[in-house]
C-alpha cells in the first residue's frame, strides 16, 4: 500500500477539468470555474496547458451577455484515439474512436466460437493491427486498446471468458497479458457490461456526479455500475452478476445450482426453449434447436416480435417482465435514477423491455415519490460494448479516478 494522498497534483486537476469538458461538450472558462470550484485564474492556467497539449480547442465565442463574449472550449477530437474490441461468441467487433467517442473505423469478424484461447487471441491481434493501419490515425495519438469480454475477473488479473461450448474453457487464460505481449499499447480488459456502462458515460456525456447502471444483454444479463465518475468494481472486480438473482425461490433449476434465477427465466436460452415447446412456432422460425445457435434463434424471435407477431411478442414480454422485477429489486437496493439497456439482446425489442421496466418501476419502486427512475435504450447501437471498451481506455488514460464531490 502506498498510493493515497499526494496533494492536488497538476495531473489530478487537469483530469478533473478535462472531465468537465467531456461531459459538457462545449463550455466556457467561467462555466468551468463555477463547476469546479476553482477560481478563474486557476482555470486559466489549466486550460492554457490543455490547449498547449492539444487536448482541447477553442471553437468560437459564446452568446453575448453584456460584456466580453466567452471563448468556447471543447475536446479536440483528433487529439487522441482509442481502440475497442468486443469479444463475443458469435462475433468480434472492433472500433476505432476519437476522443469524443465517435466511431472512426470499425470492423466485424467472426466470433471466437470454439477456438482455443491462443488461436483466437492470435487472430484478434492480427485483425487489430490491420484495423489500426486502415484507420489511418497517427500512432502517437492512440492511447490504448480496450477489450470487452463476457466473463469474470480471476485472481491475478486474469480474465475468464464464458464460451458456448465449454463453460470456463478460457478460465486459466490470461487474455490481458497475452495481448499486452503482442501489442505495444496499454491494454485494458473489462467485462462487457461494465464496458457498456462506461461507453454511455463517455459517449453520452454523462456528468461524473450522476450514478447510473447499464444492463447488458448478450448471452446473459450483466450489469455495469458507474458511481462518482468511475466504474464501481467491488472487492474483486466482479460487480454486476445479475444473471443469478433469485426471482422465484420455487422456480426451475438453473445450471448454477440455484432455482428461479433471472438467467434461467429470461435469458435468450430460456426464451428459445419456450419457443421450442411450441411446435408450430419452432417450425415457422426454423429453430435449429442446437445449443450453439441459441443467440441466432433468439434474434429470430426478437425480429418477429418487433414485426408484431403476437406469439413472439408474448415470449419477449415474458422475458421483459422478469427483467423488470430484477430491476425493481436493484433500484430499491441502490436508489438509481437512470438505467440504460444495451447490447445485442436489446437491439430488436429493446423498447418492450424499456416499457415493461418503466411500468414496473413507476408502479412499485420505493423512491418513485422522490424521483423517477428513467429506463432508456442505449443510443450506441449494437457495438455498445466495443465502443465502451474504447471509452474505458480514454477514461483511464485521460481522466483517471475522479475524486471529491
Amino acid at each position: 500500500m502506498a498510493k493515497m494522498l499526494r496533494g492536488a497534483t497538476a495531473q489530478e486537476t487537469h483530469s478533473a477539468i478535462l472531465d468537465l469538458i467531456r461531459s459538457s461538450g462545449t463550455v466556457t472558462r467561467v462555466d468551468l470555474a463555477d463547476r469546479s470550484g476553482l477560481t478563474g485564474a486557476s482555470i486559466s492556467r489549466v486550460v492554457k496547458r490543455l490547449l498547449a497539449d492539444g487536448l482541447i480547442i477553442e471553437t468560437g465565442y459564446g452568446d453575448p451577455t453584456g460584456g466580453k463574449r466567452a471563448t468556447l472550449l471543447q475536446f479536440n477530437p483528433r487529439a487522441r484515439h482509442a481502440v475497442g474490441i468486443a469479444v463475443d461468441t458469435p462475433s468480434t467487433t472492433y472500433v476505432v474512436t476519437d476522443m469524443s467517442g465517435r466511431v472512426i473505423e470499425q470492423l466485424s469478424s467472426r466470433g471466437i466460437g470454439k477456438d482455443a484461447p491462443a488461436t483466437a487471441v492470435r487472430r484478434i491481434t492480427a485483425e487489430l493491427e490491420d484495423l489500426i493501419v486502415k484507420a489511418g490515425i497517427e500512432p502517437s495519438t492512440l492511447v490504448g486498446v480496450g477489450v470487452a469480454l463476457a466473463g469474470r475477473q480471476g485472481r491475478g488479473g486474469t480474465r475468464l471468458l464464458r464460451t458456448d461450448s465449454e463453460k470456463y474453457a478460457w478460465e486459466p487464460f490470461a487474455v490481458r497479458d497475452t495481448l499486452k505481449a503482442a501489442i505495444d499499447h496499454p491494454i485494458v480488459v473489462e467485462n462487457d457490461s461494465t464496458c457498456a456502462a462506461i461507453g454511455e458515460f463517455w459517449a453520452g456525456k454523462i456528468p461524473s456526479v450522476n450514478d447510473f447502471a447499464t444492463v447488458y444483454l448478450a448471452a446473459g444479463f450483466g450489469l455495469g455500475l458507474m458511481t462518482n465518475g468511475d466504474v464501481y468494481r467491488g472487492s474483486s472486480s466482479n460487480v454486476g452478476e445479475i444473471g443469478h438473482m433469485v426471482l422465484d425461490v420455487n422456480g426451475p433449476m438453473c445450471w448454477c445450482g440455484g432455482q428461479g434465477c433471472l438467467e434461467s427465466l429470461a435469458a435468450p436460452a430460456a426464451v428459445v426453449a419456450r419457443a421450442e415447446q411450441d411446435a408450430a412456432l419452432a417450425d415457422k422460425l426454423g429453430l435449429r434447436g442446437r445449443q450453439t445457435s441459441v443467440r441466432a434463434d433468439f434474434a429470430k424471435i426478437a425480429r418477429l416480435a418487433a414485426g408484431g407477431d403476437p406469439r413472439c411478442v408474448q415470449l419477449i414480454e415474458e422475458s421483459a417482465t422478469y427483467l423488470a422485477k430484477a430491476l425493481l429489486s436493484i433500484t430499491n437496493l441502490l436508489d438509481l435514477d437512470q438505467i440504460i439497456l444495451a447490447g445485442p439482446g436489446f437491439s430488436e425489442t429493446g423498447d418492450i423491455y424499456v416499457r415493461l421496466a418503466t411500468q414496473e418501476l413507476n408502479r412499485l419502486s420505493f423512491v418513485r415519490a422522490m424521483h423517477p427512475t428513467r429506463v432508456e435504450l442505449s443510443k450506441l447501437g449494437p457495438s455498445a460494448a466495443a465502443l465502451g471498451a474504447a471509452s474505458l481506455v480514454l477514461h483511464s488514460q485521460l481522466t483517471p479516478h475522479q475524486n471529491r464531490s
Copy 2:
C-alpha cells in the same frame, strides 16, 4: 454547484490521517507514512497538529526493531463525544459515546408508539438534555447528535418515519429541523440500516478501503452500504430498501403492491403470522395476534428458537432461508466480501441467519472461487443503531468524505 476541487487542504489531509488512526487503533508515524503515501516529514507535521488539538495521544513505544523505538499513536477517546439516538416503535435508545465508539452512558425509554410527531420529538429533546447532563461530559467536546430512524428521505431533507399504527404518519414531518431548533448542536439524521453500517465501520475499526454491507432487522429488513470510507447514499439517499426485493414472482401479495417480497416472506410479521397458523404454538407463546405486538411476538418466537424449540427453530430458519437468497442476489450484484447482520431482530437467533446465509453464499455465490463472502453478526449488540448514529456524527465531523484510493 461550487465545491469540488480545492487543493489538498490541511482539513482533508488531517481527516485522512485521522481515519487511518481510527481504523488502526494503534499506529506509528512510519505506519501512517506507508499507508497514506505521504512522507515522514509530512506525517510529522500533521501528527503534531493532531496532538496539539488533543485529538490523538502518544501511548508508549513499539517493539524494538533494531533502532529507535517508534512512538505509538492512538485516539484520545475523551477528546470528543457524540450522542446517538435510535428512534423505534417499541423503544427509544440513547447512547453517549467517546471518540472510539465506546458507550459512556446510555438510556432506554419507551418508543414513539402512536405519538404525534411533535409530542414525540418534544419528549426526545427533554430526555436527551437530561442524558447529556448525566453523562458529565465537557459540553465543548460534544460534536453533535445523530438520530437513527426507520424511514425514507423526503425531498427537502425531511425524514419519513414508519410507525406501526399508520403507515407514513410522520410523512410530512421534518424531524431534523425540529430537533435542530431545540438542540444547539449539529444534528444528523439517517435511516437505521445506514447507521448500523457506519457503527460497524467506526466502532469495529473497519478500514476505509473495505466495502461492506450491513443488514439491519427491526420491523423489516434494511441494508446500509459503505464504500470507499463513506456511506453510499444513491441519488436520493434512499439506498438499501431490500424489504421489497422480489424473491418469488408468484408469491403472496405484499402491502407494497408487489408479490413475494422479502418482507412479506421473511420479516417478523410474516414469521408471527405463520406461528399464528399453528394454534398450539400460538397458545404456547401467548401470541396476542395484534398488529402492534408483532415485534414482541417475534421476540418470543426467537427466544424459544434460541432455546432449541424445534417448531420455532423451523420458523426462524424459514425466514433465514429467504434472507440468504436475498443476500446471494445482493452479493452477486455488488461483489461484497463482508456482510454484517445487526439490529434487534437478530439479537436472539442471529447465528441461525448467519449460518444459513454463509451456507448459501458458499454454495452459490459467483465470486466464491475468488474470495469468500463473510457473514458476521454485529458485535455492537441491541443498540447498534444508536451507536451507529453516534458514529455517523463522529465520522461526518472528524473525517469528512475520504477520497482517492
